[in-house]
Symmetry: C2
Subunit: 380 residues, 2 copies
């Protein structure tokens, strides 16, 4: 077994025993490496906070079988050291303001079915979400916006649910576009069952993704955690129809915490299915959009915005790739660091750190001084 | 003929020869008094700018006949010295920022049909406007909002047009409420002709108002000037359905210049009749509202807002009546004035100025110092 295969088995084990995101497990892995962390968990010699999270399932070691099973489905487990790991999409979870919410960490690893690279499909992606109780109007508009975005080369990310989600996926595929469904259960489970065929179709041209091990059943807290990935994978979130208390508002809330723009489609004030959209617009949680052109305008303007969060999460330029974002993120607000420190903080190998710094310097995002590298002061 | 009757005849003459608002005519009248100003106009000895505005019609003196004719219709000419003159509603035209737009002055005088006091009915009023090309949805929502506002004691001000305007008037009357139609033609003209009966009905419980002399026909520039009065008479403007380029946006624009809140009702993005509302919400020209409760919330919060314009146009307290607003408005941003100077600047008689100052002092809006009275510095 190669080192990476060993790592992959370790992540598969961790994914099953942890069941979802866990800051303490992530921190533990970051400190000791995944292989050593798993060894410690299996031996039971771990800090109390880690034990509390994993001890109940620590004895379940189906990692090798899980990897075989996902391969049999045409899938794989994507781990943080893989090229397709969408690090720059997830970096916000380390730095965003989540107001003490639990489980805001990056996913440990991602179970994926579908032939495309997860990094590639989330490169230019938009989340389109909404109520399961969609009206004919909402389905029409969700289809128009998703189809137009997909034609324009945007991947449409959604949750695979009935209603708006389903329309968004179908509309993207309908125009030959790419779509990603992020599930709150194992990628081998069709949820909802009525969407088994749809999810199958998605894997043939896009991706079905989950952070939960095979066989995991959906649960309320998993939907909420799943929503954070839907928000993270997109450049912004489009809400098409949402009830007054809708899961779509949860997705929108994650997006805001990540510094991603949220937009909402209005509808008749007489329609309960638009009440959540109107509420978000009224309370300045979302900007009103009428069509795909408006969506692109909002998402585009966010990329060129000038506040600190935009700065952190926007790539600024297409030439700035994943590692460069991590390098930039590792630099403090003031003061400078040497490349070794940056490598240590960012987890990016030294060779990549140097390349990234050069690239960031060309983009005027970092400056060199006597003691190392610092963030460039932003134009105001 | 009493002095006031003489004045009223003079205003009636001015109204006909000026045809609409005119800053230069208003200034001329303010300087010389209306009777003297009219004498000068008739003799042709006036400044060039005034002559340019009035000389073409200066020979038309139908003032007495016009006053008889409006009386025969059950109406009257309301002039600035009348108790019912809504001075506090119009003061914004002297101080607002209109970006060089023409005809932003107060109306010279107002032709009114209906038994109620113009000051009373505009005391707690909201403008409800929208497209003539209303959909069934827009008519439904305009009816709901106008009816609910009227039940809550708000006068519904609109323009008497087909579509949203007509529904707004009817809904207010339908619940026994008060409504005001501001016309872009003489109050003796039914425009549109199809609303002759509606306008008649409005006069029986509310008011039909125009700054144009009897017989004046509607014209595009008169609609635009009329819109400023619709905006001025309300505490805020509600737009229910508006096309991409709609007269309702013009009314909304006047409202913003006057510091009045503008709100708009969304609708299906597939409806051209909602495109103007969506545009205004998207461009932050209007706040989204779904119902009368939202409208009251927005208009209420504007009254308690803390910027300078709110300060000028809000009454702060119900005990502050028309003259007090004029007195407050006459006080400079810094420095103080004596009561005589205030009376001269505000046009408010000395006895009323003293009463007003006491009232304003109680409301902590003015302070007394060695040399007179000054604006209280605002809490920040």
């Amino acid at each position: 077994m190669t080192a990476w295969e060993t790592e992959r088995v370790a992540w598969a084990y961790l994914s099953r025993v942890t069941q979802g995101p866990s800051r303490v497990v992530s921190d533990f892995v970051e400190r000791y490496g995944v292989v050593e962390a798993v060894r410690a968990i299996k031996s039971g010699v771990v800090p109390r906070v880690v034990a509390e999270r994993v001890s109940a399932r620590a004895h379940i070691d189906t990692a090798a079988a899980d990897l075989d099973a996902v391969a049999a489905l045409g899938g794989r487990l994507v781990i943080p050291t893989d090229d397709e790991w969408p690090a720059w999409r997830l970096v916000g979870f380390q730095t965003g303001e989540f107001g003490g919410r639990a489980d805001t960490s990056v996913p440990l690893a991602l179970w994926v079915i579908g032939g495309r690279s997860l990094l590639d499909v989330t490169e230019r992606a938009v989340a389109v979400v909404g109520t399961r109780a969609a009206t004919a109007y909402g389905e029409h508009v969700a289809g128009e916006i998703s189809g137009d975005m997909a034609v324009d080369g945007w991947t449409v990310v959604s949750g695979g649910a009935f209603g708006i989600d389903g329309v968004a996926h179908r509309a993207a595929m309908g125009v030959g576009g790419v779509t990603v469904a992020v599930l709150a259960c194992g990628v081998d489970r069709a949820y909802p069952a009525g969407h088994a065929r749809l999810l199958q179709q998605i894997t043939s041209s896009g991706l079905v993704v989950s952070e939960y091990a095979l066989g995991t059943t959906p649960a309320k807290h998993r939907f909420l955690a799943r929503n954070r990935l839907v928000a993270a994978f997109g450049e912004g979130v489009v809400v098409v129809e949402a009830g007054w208390r809708s899961g779509a508002r949860n997705t929108a809330s994650w997006a805001r915490s990540l510094g991603r723009p949220v937009v909402a489609v209005p509808g008749p004030v007489t329609s309960a299915s638009s009440a959540g959209c109107h509420r978000m617009i009224r309370e300045s949680e979302a900007r009103l959009v009428s069509n795909a052109r408006d969506v692109v305008e909002e998402i585009g303007s966010a990329l060129s915005g000038d506040d600190e969060q935009d700065h952190l999460f926007s790539r600024g330029d297409d030439r700035i790739t994943g590692p460069a974002i991590l390098v930039l993120d590792a630099l403090p607000g003031s003061g400078s660091l040497g490349p070794h420190e940056i490598s240590e903080l960012s987890g990016v190998p030294m060779s990549d750190v140097r390349a990234a710094l050069v690239m960031l310097e060309m983009e005027s995002l970092v400056v060199r001084d006597d003691t190392g590298w610092a963030r460039a002061q932003r134009r105001r």
